[in-house]
């Protein structure tokens, strides 16, 4: 699913955010990207979401070389990737339902299907009863569930989660991780970035460890 070869990202002269990274994540795999703050996790995610380009090396996701995509192809690519961030990235002036259905609207799916699918995912994350609430009325855990529902609503092949439990307490973190496990069980590739080693140990999946822009462990 993800093939990275010799990836380097240089921000300023001799300041490598990522330094010659080579790794791969198989289709249907669940992997953690771990490392302390500043290790390069977020930079790697930004490159995987095509918000940034690599300085050197190749990044291939689901057969697409991300460096060669046209703006239109970038849009199409992003529609196949679900994302979840630490700060949830919800649109505050839209309700829970609107935040989730939004990702379907741009695909031109018929209205009835949009609504049905949105209710399905909200039910799956256990928030169907909060569909008309605004993000500000929800707890952190609930907001993150909305973000997960939005990431899943258009059935992506890959879900990228950058510190999805960073703002949550340990119990809620485990709940959220269980959701990711379920997503993965349905066949979706999941890559979760976290600095929480305890959580990684608890979930017990493959962990790719970054340190100062380099892969130091991939087991």
């Amino acid at each position: 699913m993800i093939v990275i070869e010799g990836l380097s990202k240089l921000y300023a002269r001799d300041v490598f955010a990522l330094d010659d990274i080579t790794l791969s994540v198989g289709r249907g795999e669940f992997a953690f990207l771990t490392g302390a703050s500043g290790a390069g996790k977020t930079t790697l995610f930004r490159i995987l979401l095509r918000q940034e380009l690599a300085t050197l090396g190749r990044v291939i996701v689901d057969g697409r070389d991300l460096a060669t995509l046209s703006p239109r192809e970038v849009q199409r690519y992003r529609r196949t990737v679900g994302f979840v961030f630490q700060d949830f990235k919800l649109i505050q002036r839209k309700t829970v339902f609107e935040n989730v259905i939004f990702a379907l609207r741009i695909l031109g799916v018929p209205d009835v299907q949009q609504r049905r699918r949105t209710f399905q995912v909200l039910k799956w994350v256990g928030l169907q009863h909060r569909a008309n609430a605004y993000p500000i009325e929800l707890s952190g855990g609930e907001q993150q569930r909305v973000a997960i529902a939005r990431a899943l609503v258009n059935e992506p092949v890959l879900v990228l989660a950058d510190e999805p439990t960073g703002n949550l307490d340990p119990d809620l973190s485990l709940d959220i991780m269980n959701l990711f496990r379920e997503i993965n069980a349905a066949g979706t590739t999941v890559l979760v970035a976290t600095h929480d080693r305890e959580l990684v140990r608890h979930v017990g999946r493959r962990a790719i460890m970054l340190d100062r822009g380099r892969v130091v462990e991939s087991a």
């Binding site: 703006p71 199409r76 741009i106 939005r150």
Partner: protein
């Protein structure tokens, strides 16, 4: 398509409402710019009409030399009659001119009684066509006739007609220049207001980009916001113009009656209304486009 448009419009109205202070400011800027443009169009159109009316009622007289030969007189009369601006030509003999003077100015009639010769020249008095008379064409005709043998002088109310025509042209050009500057300023204001809206919603825009929304979907509401501001600005400018015209009519009534009929002042023609409304929307659209262009 229709769903997309509905989305753009509803998002645009929502954004305008949320940033209503700056929206009102930019809409008013467009209103002022278009009001000025409309005012000059209104003045220009009415001045042009007055020039046209006066031009039509203006006299065009050709005075003949006393020694003009009959063949020369005929040539002059033929030249006048053939011109498209002339409706009819009347020949006034020296005697008839003297007679008319005595009739029109009886108190001065005595002064002419003692004169050994009749001092009044024979003339051709031309009546102009009721429509389609071009002041420029009249000047050419006057020059052509004036150069013909047997002609002593050509008189028509040229000076003030020329002045009025050039005033009308000046009003129009000055209006376009001033309005152009104001419209540019209005466009820049819209750009900045839309840019503010964009800044306020930068998180939302980032989310839209991340879910792979097409650029038209992201930019659409911002461009639509500009178009709405421009359209409202144009409509307000038209209303203000109408009010200004009615106020002018009521204030000027009785003052300028000698020069022209105040009540006959007309509103800008349909094409100008379309220009003001369409122009406002175009300025708004361009402002929105310029602001949204930075989204890639």
């Amino acid at each position: 398509m229709i769903r997309g448009l509905r989305y753009f419009v509803s998002e645009a109205f929502l954004s305008l409402w949320r940033g209503r202070r700056s929206s009102v400011l930019s809409t008013l800027t467009i209103t002022i710019a278009l009001f000025m443009l409309g005012l000059f169009l209104l003045l220009g159109a009415n001045l042009e009409r007055v020039v046209d009316e006066w031009g039509r009622s203006a006299e065009f007289s050709v005075y003949l030399r006393d020694d003009a030969a009959p063949s020369e007189r005929e040539a002059i009369q033929r030249e006048l009659a053939q011109d498209g601006s002339i409706a009819a030509v009347e020949s006034v003999s020296k005697e008839a001119a003297l007679e008319r003077f005595r009739r029109d100015f009886p108190e001065l009639a005595q002064a002419t009684a003692g004169a050994p010769d009749n001092p009044f020249p024979a003339s051709f008095e031309a009546r102009l066509q009721s429509s389609g008379v071009d002041v420029g064409a009249l000047a050419t005709l006057a020059a052509r006739i004036g150069a013909m043998p047997g002609v002593a002088d050509v008189r028509y109310d040229r000076r003030w007609l020329d002045r009025l025509a050039s005033l009308s042209a000046f009003v129009r050009y000055a209006g376009f220049v001033l309005a152009g500057v104001l419209v540019l300023a209005a466009g820049l204001t819209v750009t900045n207001v839309v840019r503010l809206a964009l800044y306020a919603r930068r998180d939302e825009v980032e989310i839209m980009e991340l879910v792979g929304a097409p650029m038209t979907f992201i930019r659409g509401p911002f461009v639509c916001e500009g178009i709405i501001q421009g359209g409202i600005g144009g409509a307000l400018a038209l209303v203000a113009l109408r009010v200004a015209l009615e106020l002018a009519k009521s204030r000027l009534a009785g003052m300028a009656g000698v020069m022209f009929e105040v009540q006959s002042l007309s509103f800008v023609p349909g094409a100008s209304i379309a220009l003001l409304l369409g122009g406002g929307m175009l300025v708004g659209c361009l402002g929105g486009l310029v602001a949204a262009r930075r989204l890639r």
